[in-house]
Symmetry: D2
Subunit: 231 residues, 4 copies
């Protein structure tokens, strides 16, 4: 059984819930595609804590690295599932610890951006067939969502690089694992309807059932794109 690591965030910005954590938790343990089981983690909305929490979960699986890492985040104002394409090396805003950032790099000296490893167009197409609106987004903002997205992709790029150095073969761990370095990507989800209540103007939202279904489909399509890997 392979793993799909799904992360969500704690609430922020005055919200009492964060649908990304609720959805990640709801999918936890499910076999969303043949041979692929979800493991989920909730990470804090802090510059200091978000990435370490994800990286800890990344290495914490019973069988080494997961096959893919799908990070979820709440995008207040989105009317649809947003498949994020670009993680940019910029971070801004004040986190849940009150720590501010103003256009600082996520990783000093890192490349300007990384691109998602998820099959974005295939996911949008499949969701559309199922009546669930989704789109490819070219900016995940510069707050914690983008920060985690960039941080994870940077870490995985380094891993890939080190494995390549160690083994001479692309994307293969020498001793640690026989699987390639995990794919990673970020999916932004709308507010839940209950979060839209009382805001003015009322923002778009999506029912929890539809969000769960959409993320599940995204995981299925991602798993399918990983191919028929022998156990």
């Amino acid at each position: 059984m392979k793993e799909l690591l799904v992360s969500g965030f704690e609430p922020f910005g005055g919200e009492r819930v964060n649908p990304s954590a609720l959805v990640a938790a709801e999918l936890s343990g499910l076999e969303v595609a043949p041979g692929y089981r979800v493991r989920s983690v909730t990470v804090p909305v802090t510059w200091a804590g978000a990435l370490p929490a994800l990286l800890k979960a990344l290495g914490a699986g019973p069988s080494g690295f997961p096959a893919a890492v799908v990070m979820l985040g709440q995008a207040g104002g989105y009317a649809a599932i947003g498949l994020e394409r670009v993680a940019v090396n910029i971070s801004s805003g004040t986190d849940n610890d009150g720590v501010p950032r103003a256009d600082e790099p996520v990783v000093e000296g890192g490349p300007a951006s990384y691109l998602s490893g998820l099959p974005l167009r295939a996911i949008v197409a499949r969701l559309g067939e199922l009546g669930l609106p989704a789109f490819v987004s070219n900016s995940a903002g510069t707050y914690l969502c983008n920060f985690l997205f960039y941080g994870a992709l940077h870490h995985l790029a380094g891993l890939r690089e080190s494995w390549r150095g160690a083994s001479g073969s692309e994307g293969r761990g020498a001793g640690s694992s026989s699987a390639p370095a995990p794919l990673a990507g970020f999916i932004h989800i709308p507010y839940l309807p209950e979060q839209a209540v009382g805001k003015n103007p009322i923002p778009p939202s999506m029912s929890r059932g539809d969000i769960v279904r959409a993320v599940r489909v995204a995981l299925e399509v991602t798993a399918a794109s990983l191919g028929n890997q022998s156990p």
Copy 2:
């Protein structure tokens, strides 16, 4: 058993479905509040046909007039349930028969507008408690939704007037019925998620389950506001 007449519209504007008709049909026959059963009707998106279809249904019940008439319509772009407050004596746009109107009165010589008879604030408040976003809207536009809304309220005002003339007591039918003239109002509902697919930009939507639940709650609150009327 009293009746609540719920109307929906046929699809228009290139859509294959109209959530208002789907929801009206889904609620048909349900006892949404103690002693109140829904009867539903779908009306055409035509200047000539919409109001006659509603008025025919209005008088078609087994026990005379319904206790209330709740008209539903699709409001593409709405992110929440819209409790419409004002029906204005203006009509514009081209209907499903290709018949155009340009700022013509709904009823020649009619008053500038009528106000909804529904307990708007109570419905919004109750929906909010249940996590369903809703708002009071001050304009139902000038297309068929507003046209039906105005037409129905004008008809019912005339009925009330004639009953008053006949019986000398407000809102009581002389021979035809012992109940007061029905309350009437209009509720705009968002696109279904499947309708949002493929549009650019992607508009807000609401799941069918949530729309049905919201309309049902609106009917409950409306029924409750009708008071404890003896059978």
Copy 3:
């Protein structure tokens, strides 16, 4: 020389300026159409003070009533000049004196609404020819703008009624004036660009020059619609 009374509002909602007052003042004294001069007034954003200030100005002209009353108001979020069609008998919100209203009638027992007396479509068409975006709006909200709009139309309807009673001829003052009761309407204008600065998200705005030009055109078209009245 006939008069066109143009009103603007004081700032509200934390703004330091209200473009409606700036524009009204800038047009003051100008002969915007042959034989028509603008007189302007700024009214407070208070339930108690707004209408009295307008009505005082209404009767304050050197030659009796103005030929038309064009009320201006700021509509934060509008991307174009909004020719308001409907004044509704509802008032809500907290005014600059801190006095709240919650869905109360503007005039107890008044009709549900009045319609603007301005030539809305002709104004929108003329503005479009000049490259200035404008639209007919079906709701002026329920705050002070709508309140003043409704209050003024209600007052003028009463005046028309009393003149009709006095003279037997529609819309003619018996002794007070030889002109018909003034037309009245409401025009919503966008934020100035400087008001958009610092807001998040940044709302649409319109340059002061374009707003002044647009209102001036609206006054010209209105004056033209008043016909060739002999002095």
Copy 4:
């Protein structure tokens, strides 16, 4: 006298004008900051022609390379001046020649993105002081604007690389020029008011005068950031 190269695009998407070309042309020849004169170029909205036209202009100055390249583009729907931060290696959409692209790289094998060389925050701050709304945008989309932006930054990065190789000193041309490689960035501008006319819903716009003023200020701030370079 140093040069600031300002590019605009031809009209596209059914528009009769493109404000970016109008503004670039209007600024042509002006000394927008002491010692800095604007040279402007209009480029076609085609995958094949846009970058060559810009690169030709880049080398066409009387005194070698310009000090900076500021590309302008129309962003229908923007309510403010958008200082673009990220040029991404993705291109999509059908150009004015009818040639489609679907998520193809701008430069095969190029880095995921480049960041703007303009002093983005300083420009936004200065524009705000002058009452002109502006913001830093994290996505220039994936159409021709982003394509030109990425293509130019990629070209300039290569130039910088080759100069570094030739001279051993960063950003200095060996024989060709004594100046560093030009800074480059992209600024998105809203529709003109005349372009908003007739669209439904009416999009935000900005007056031509304000757009010209804003771009001029952006050029001034950019020139100031280039420092006191000896001639």
